[in-house]
Amino acid sequence: MPFGEMYLSLFSVFSMLNQQRRCLVKRRNLGWLLLGGLLSLSAWASPALADSQLNLTQGVTDVSQNVYELHMMVMWICTVIGIIVFGAMFWSMIFHRKSKGAKAASFHESTKVEVLWTAIPIVILVGMAWPATTTLIEMEDNSQSDITIQVTGSQWKWHYKYFDQDIEFYSVLSTPKSQFDNREGDTGEKWANPNYLLEVDKPLVIPVNRKVRFLITSDDVIHAWWVPAFAVKQDANPGFINEAWTKVNEPGIYRGQCAELCGKDHGYMPIVVDVRSEQDYELWINEQKIAKAEAAKAEAQSLNASMSMDELMSLGETIYTGHCAACHQPTGLGLPPAFPALKGSPMATTGPISDHINIVFNGRAGTGMQGYGKQLSLKEIAAVVTYERNAWDNNTGDMVQASDVNAAAGDSSAAPASQQDSAPAPTPAAPTEVEAPTASLDDLSMDELMAMGEEVYVKSCLACHQANGAGMPPAFPALKGSPIALGPVDAHIDMVVKGKPGTAMMGFAAQLTPQQMAAVITYERNAWGNDTGDVVQATAVVNK
């Protein structure tokens, strides 16, 4: 900002102070000046100015309103006490001064007075503690929420994950670096940007009038998620979760910032919450789901596509500037030792490409290097790896395609979006289900039973009793060589059908067909060297 403007603002505040004082003060006296200052503070705090930038925000939730009122109450109590105490001080400073011929009195104690000014503050404090306690109890009541959102901080961005919705995304500062890094000259663009440093690429979207619960945690160091308008500030501790909640009364866009020093770019990880009407929120949820499906499609296509060196380098540079340059610097020289140089580093030049991809994709434990597998598409990772191996005279000539990333990072053959197929997608509150039950009671051959039995065992039993049948004693006993599997067939069937009360062994009658149970019992009695030779058929299970 030009100096002229600065002086203007200096002048305006000065004149503001003067107006406050002029009516109060005539004499040039330190005391009056200070008292005037105190009064102008209380004038600043008056309701008319409540929404100005001089005071705490009232916010848009009931809690933030309560917090604001509490703040005003304490401020007024302090102001009144201040006026009394400082008033007495200035009175004696003005009237009990030697130059006016004041003679010192000789009193130096009074139990009565001292007890009094111990007791009165205690009463005042109790009066303050009461409303503070009720507000606090309300703030800490996280129960009965409508929506749960997992908020994860990492250096230096926020990640939001909607519980039960399969929606998740990162939220990163969107103010261009050219606006805030002015060390090589200031274009002054920032002054035209009202949301300078308080804007993100993807804001968190929540509905109005719904209790939203935040589960807050961190991937690396401690962060703090703070939105002043909600009066929500909670630390994000790595490895632990914290809870906070809000119920917003008015739609709008609310901005906050990380409030706990989290390293270099602590000042550059803002929070933006877009509070929408319930219908708009539903619309948004649907849009996200469609967008997600399309992204998965694009990801799959990128596996077959091959990009030219120029395309890779130009995309790579964009990604590098956006995600990597803050630490590794645009020059690739990094900020050693915390952020190592990439220029000329073995990792980015002579080392195997797969290791390079792996670090970018998964991050490196115990360092500031986070994994970008969830943040960037395969194509983007391919491009940035290519860029790092060829920029700043690294010139390896290596070209990395999306399919290479896919091959090196996850070793499965599918893209990350579809990698989830290798594990069952989480389904809310559903017990383990095994295929569509067939009601068949036909007898099967030993081989058929063993094949089906193994399949059922893997899905329903393996987690506890383990692949080798050795279990995890004492909670999950071994089946290999156990009396159940080697003893009477009936007891074994009974155990599988009904379970064993008081233990983790549940009855599988509701989950498995008789044939499946027969198969798995057969399997258990013949696998791992149990070799009883028993063949159990579905009819035997039904007859039980």
């Binding site: 009541d141 996280n142 129960s143 009965q144 929420s145 749960t148 997992q150 994860t152 990492s154 519980f163 039960d164 589960l215 945690t217 991937d219 690396d220 501790n237 790595p238 490895g239 632990f240 979760i241 914290n242 809870e243 797969s354 792996n358 994709f361 998964n362 991050g363 490196r364 434990a365 115990g366 360092t367 290097m369 986070q370 994994g371 090196a408 990072a409 996850g410 070793d411 499965s412 990698q419 290798s422 594990a423 069952p424 989480p426 389904t427 809310p428 509150a429 559903a430 383990t432 393996l462 987690a463 506890c464 995890m472 909670a475 999950f476 008081g502 983790a504 549940m506």
Partner: protein, 187 residues
């Protein structure tokens, strides 16, 4: 303490030395106390449920009844820490339980790092106060999970919610963060 008029320099010197020795011992004791705060903090957490730390060892089923009148939602969150190239997720996002009722949930983990790795899941319960009432009979978090490259595993968690759970809690969250501890185990 009233009067040190009659003290000779030797007496003063002796008193100063005794006093100094006592204070030096206090300093050493307080240094030790700093470290004692670590176990004390754990005890404190156990009592108050501060920070949602759960027990690190298996418990046995001790509930005397199942409280059918209450239904608690237990949410599961699984996260992988930085540098842990694992897939890690619960078989379900949440489950409803009556206090006292035993439940069994599996978590899926797969080592995608392309090399042998050891994982350690760290649990955290929110609200923290509920941690004391979340009883784990068996949990994969009690042990480290060594997995070969591309190996996957279903890991068990068996738990119940203590019927003594305070009335105002009807939703609790269990979060696991899976750390790759291979490096610290190998070295």
């Amino acid at each position: 303490m009233q009067n040190n008029q009659a003290k000779s320099t030797e007496q003063v010197s002796k008193q100063v030395k005794t006093g100094t020795t006592k204070l030096v011992f206090t300093v050493i004791a307080m240094f030790g106390f700093g470290f004692a705060l670590v176990p004390l903090y754990d005890v404190f957490c156990d009592i108050t449920g501060l920070n949602g730390k759960t027990a690190t060892e298996a418990t046995t089923y001790k509930a005397d009844h199942i409280d059918k009148s209450r239904l608690i939602t237990v949410q599961f969150i699984s996260r992988t820490a930085q540098g842990a190239a694992w897939q890690f997720k619960p078989e379900m996002n949440s489950i409803q339980v009556h206090p006292g009722e035993m439940k069994f949930v599996k978590f899926y983990a797969k080592n995608e790092s392309g090399q042998h790795a050891i994982g350690q899941a760290i649990p955290s319960v929110s609200p923290g106060i509920a941690a004391n009432y979340f009883q784990k009979i068996e949990c994969f978090c009690f042990n480290q999970q060594p997995l070969k490259a591309s190996e996957d595993v279903w890991m068990p968690l068996q738990f119940y919610v203590d019927p003594e759970l305070p009335e105002d809690i009807n939703e609790l969250t269990l979060s696991y963060t899976l750390f790759d501890v291979t490096a610290s185990k190998d070295s």
